[in-house]
Subunit: 437 residues, 2 copies
């Protein structure tokens, strides 16, 4: 596969032969995993041939499990995946068709003809299930539909992405404190407080808004999208990161006072665990921190903004994860640590943090030419290949213990699909290719 869309060039480090051969080896394994793993896995299984849209749930053998509910974020992650495949590797057959039928299903069953915006989830056949407007989900609609437009030129992509963006500005933006309300009813009134999350804001949603506004601006070149992107970057830097450690903070009240995290209804944890007392321990996610690094870097480059003032922030995020989060002994990245000291406290290895670290450490290596970042990439990628990727099946397990033993063996669930793993491979492929150019 050959990338056809290279972002603005970064001055490559001068590579000695040993580094060059390391990078070449990584590129080879990443390319193989794309060609023989992630790409065919989802081409062979994702299409819901009965109802349209995508199946999301698979066991460790890649056999479909029931997909009784379709979440907007996961349907969009699959639209994004097939779209980005088409954009990055235009010779891939059927990618545009897969994305396009996902867009058909999305617009037909998730779009709210009365109030606008996309519902949170529907039943497998597209019938009504939860009509709430969850900004995390709306953001993935913008992300997917913008990437779909970039890949295919289908005007529906930019049209619905822009309409969703406009609805967020009108209904979800908080004109008192800045940022966006996150948990919203079908009619765009705020959800109740507490477990329903109507009185909370979080880094996660705002980081994903940064991600989707980046792709929207790349698609539209509309300066309004750029301005709102820069505003959310400013907000994250100013209000949603910890001045002492540089790490991301998790949850806030509407005025951005940092709060102990609670479980929120329409999140992966909230749906599994239900309402829980606030977490008394102030944790940080190494993987989320470095995801923030490279998404913000991409956002700034896409907005043609000066990256230099943000470099110290990027370094702090990367160094914190390198120092505390990378398991230099067994490989991979720990799930969570204490924010104040960095000490890891949950030593499990989860698919998405490992995915995001791969991209972020290559991003850091391209930006700072820091050998430790390349070493960290190698330590994580080796662990992923040894333990997370299921041989002969081609996707990643969800959750392993520190040593690589499966805790949750399944591959796809309503929140997983190909977004983290596929993006990690596509982005690593692009970055390794660029480094070797």
């Amino acid at each position: 596969m050959t990338p056809n869309d290279r972002p603005e060039s970064i001055k490559s480090p001068v590579l000695d032969n040993s580094v060059r051969s390391t990078l070449q080896a990584h590129l080879a394994t990443v390319t193989d995993h794309l060609n023989d793993g992630i790409v065919p896995f989802w081409f062979d299984r994702a299409l819901d041939s009965k109802y349209g849209g995508f199946l999301t749930n698979f066991d460790e053998h890649g056999k479909p499990l029931p997909t009784p509910e379709k979440y907007v974020n996961t349907q969009c992650r699959m639209i994004w995946w097939f779209s980005t495949l088409k954009r990055r590797f235009p010779q891939t057959p059927r990618a545009a068709e897969m994305a396009s039928q996902g867009v058909d299903f999305l617009i037909k069953h998730f779009w709210d003809p009365k109030y606008g915006g996309f519902y949170w989830k529907v039943k497998q056949d597209g019938s009504e299930l939860d009509n709430a407007k969850i900004v995390y989900g709306e953001s993935f609609c913008i992300y997917a539909l913008s990437e779909y437009y970039r890949a295919t030129g289908d005007a529906r992509g930019l049209e619905y992405a822009s309409r969703t963006f406009d609805l967020l500005q009108k209904y979800a933006s908080d004109t008192q404190h800045g940022g966006y309300y996150e948990n919203i009813n079908q009619d765009w009134s705020p959800e109740a407080g507490g477990f329903a999350g109507g009185d909370r804001k979080g880094l996660d949603t705002h980081m994903h808004l940064m991600e989707s506004f980046t792709t929207l601006y790349a698609a539209s070149q509309d300066d309004l999208h750029r301005r709102k992107l820069l505003q959310v970057i400013g907000l994250i830097c100013e209000k949603m990161t910890d001045k002492a450690t540089g790490c991301g903070l998790n949850q806030f009240d509407l005025a951005f006072n940092s709060l102990p995290a609670i479980s929120i209804k329409r999140t992966w944890n909230g749906e599994r665990l239900g309402e829980q007392p606030a977490d008394p321990i102030d944790t940080t996610s190494y993987g989320h921190n470095v995801e923030l690094e490279y998404l913000m870097h991409l956002a700034l480059k896409t907005a043609r903004a000066d990256v230099a003032p943000f470099q110290p922030t990027f370094r702090r995020l990367l160094d914190h994860a390198v120092q505390h989060g990378v398991d230099w002994e067994y490989g991979g990245i720990y799930r969570d640590g204490l924010r104040a000291t960095g000490e890891p406290i949950v030593l499990e290895k989860e698919f998405w943090q490992n995915s995001e670290c791969l991209v972020a450490f290559l991003d850091g290596y391209e930006l700072f030419h820091e050998p430790r970042y390349l070493d960290a990439f190698g330590k994580i990628w080796q662990f992923v290949q040894d333990h997370m990727i299921i041989k002969g099946v081609g996707e990643w397990r969800t959750l392993l213990d520190r040593h690589g033993k499966p805790i949750d063996p399944n591959i796809g669930n309503p929140w997983k699909v190909a977004y983290h793993t596929g993006r990690a491979m596509a982005e690593s492929h692009e970055r390794l290719t660029r480094l070797l150019a």
Copy 2:
């Protein structure tokens, strides 16, 4: 005249005979000035019979001066005036027609068919002059068109008010810091910084947004309008008032750090004085402070929000003006004072501060039953009758010295018209009637 639209009743103070006769005397003089002054003055002169819309500039004899430029804010103030006359005193002949032809002119010549929103100013015949989108002006469009809809039921009023509101949410809201950008180009990109004001926010614009969102919500009963109204109230209380004195602050950077005020291009001062160094003296406007009091009180009542938590703020604003701003010797209200001490430093008497104080002190009297507020109303109203109202002409002079001698004798200018003076009379009439009920 008889008001037909009484806001939710406030418990009236028990009036002794002396207070009752004072109120009756005030109601008589206010009613006379409406019937014999303000109302006929503008009915007889405001219509631009050649081009449509309104003439705004008159000398001290009420003779028209040239009106080469039509400002969106002043055209809207006249639409508002005739609309509110129709709503409050439905038997008034021709008020709806006057407002309606103003709306015709506004939509035909100020509405931007390309980018949406209303231009800042046009030539007398409606041709292009300054296509900028100034949020202060957009706010007056919302205010006027909403009141017009309430008065007449003409669907254009609510339609264009809502569209303008939506455009502000999309383009002018600051999703990093909250609040709204104020000085904006035709295409809704922010204006340059400095004199053009693109990097500043101010209490004035945000207070007028509170005013216009109040009327919009009264017209639409759309809960989104209520939520955005409550957000701007919260913002003003939290970021735009001085914690030490309770007074309003004037100008801010985009992050709401208080700044020494500069002259801004498209303001009354900016247009007359041009670019100036920042004012080193931290002044406060007694009239603006009490205008904030009653507009916020009305906003909260209209939103059916609890007024009680705001009562201490209202008292501080009113008491500051009573203590430092009312000229208990000669009557009227001083123009400006030092914020820190309250000491008056500009002893002139300007029409709009005196207008706003009349409403605010009656508002305070209704709310707190505080005799000093009624005394302050009396002191100001007497000064206005003795010196500001031009006998036999029916409108107010613009600017007097402390003792009542004219400095600027003219009646209407591109920023004045009937909004402050007419509203002061209409609101005083309504409040005095309610107090005597």
